[in-house]
């Protein structure tokens, strides 16, 4: 089964890298949407069915923290799991994002295997 993914990061090269890493890891995303901040992410989520959100934290307009807050208050979007991918490895930040509803947290740098394992854990099945 192919899952649809929304990648939220203000860096276009990082969004491209995540797409490539998903492919390298053997994870076949069915449809892959992109957004450069939380606002764009919410618009994409209202337009498309998404199985998992991969989001950065530091972004202009609406950052990853605010995106998670908005998801929690939206009855339709609350169930979409979010995996945070960030450079920030401080305990405070990780705990804060988990408390806001993130299903997982990966720190950069990350390997393709680490991303795949987290996606499998969140989506609940091994992926071919």
């Amino acid at each position: 089964m192919a899952f649809s993914v929304l990648i939220v990061d203000d860096s276009p090269v990082m969004r491209g890298f995540i797409r490539r890493v998903m492919t390298l890891s053997g994870f076949e995303a069915g449809e892959c949407w992109e957004a450069s901040n939380g606002e764009e992410a919410l618009a994409q989520l209202r337009e498309h069915r998404v199985d998992v959100i991969l989001t950065d934290i530091n972004m202009p307009k609406m950052n990853g923290e605010e995106l998670l807050r908005q998801l929690e208050t939206d009855a339709q979007l609350r169930s979409v799991p979010a995996l945070v991918i960030s450079t920030d490895a401080t305990k405070d930040r990780i705990l804060r994002m988990i408390s806001l509803g993130a299903e997982g947290y990966i720190t950069k740098p990350f390997t393709p295997e680490a991303l795949r394992e987290e996606l499998e854990r969140i989506l609940g099945e091994p992926h071919a």
């Binding site: 203000d10 860096s11 276009p12 090269v13 990082m14 491209g16 890298f17 490539r20 530091n58 202009p60 960030s86 450079t87 920030d88 490895a89 401080t90 305990k91 405070d92 930040r93 720190t107 950069k108 740098p109 990350f110 390997t111």
Partner: protein, 161 residues
């Protein structure tokens, strides 16, 4: 500076440099498919380098600078983007070096101070990577070209050295 304090400052600086060495290698190998070897400073390439800077604030404050020689920037960008070097544009190089600086800055600072609360500004291209006196600075040799990291702290915690 009293002798005891001076030795303590030297010891902490060694810890800072070890964190920079370990984290830089981890970042470059894992996501940029290259390796880095810490080396003595030779800044002859700085005048043509691609330099990115990031201000950070919170429990520690200052500026993080990353300078990458032109040939290293192209090799790193092509590896990160999965493109051949001849397909990699100047804009690609700039965008990838911004991302590399963001990852290195976040990884170095949060590994050095895991209990801290930090916020990083958006990385910007430009400026010079020259180390001011008192900054924490490290040069690396890559398979192609060179790279230098500098952390200029506004607080005492990283301003030694």
């Amino acid at each position: 500076m009293p002798e005891g304090l001076e030795q303590s400052a030297i010891a902490e600086r060694d810890v800072d440099l070890k964190v920079i060495d370990r984290v830089s290698n981890e970042v470059l190998e894992t996501m940029f498919f290259t390796e880095a070897i810490a080396t003595g400073c030779d800044h002859s390439w700085f005048s043509t380098a691609v330099t990115a800077r990031i201000a950070f604030a919170g429990s520690h404050a200052g500026e993080f600078l990353l300078s990458v020689s032109r040939e290293a920037a192209r090799a790193i960008a092509s590896g990160f983007l999965g493109l051949a070097e001849e397909e990699t544009t100047e804009n690609d190089c700039g965008q990838v070096i911004l991302e590399l600086s963001n990852i290195l800055c976040g990884a170095v600072l949060s590994n050095r101070w895991p209990e801290s609360r930090l916020s990083l500004a958006t990385p910007e291209l430009g400026g010079c990577g020259c180390a001011n006196e008192g900054a924490l600075h490290r040069c690396f040799t890559l398979p192609v070209g060179a790279l230098a990291l500098t952390i200029c702290a506004a607080d005492a915690a990283v301003s030694r050295g």
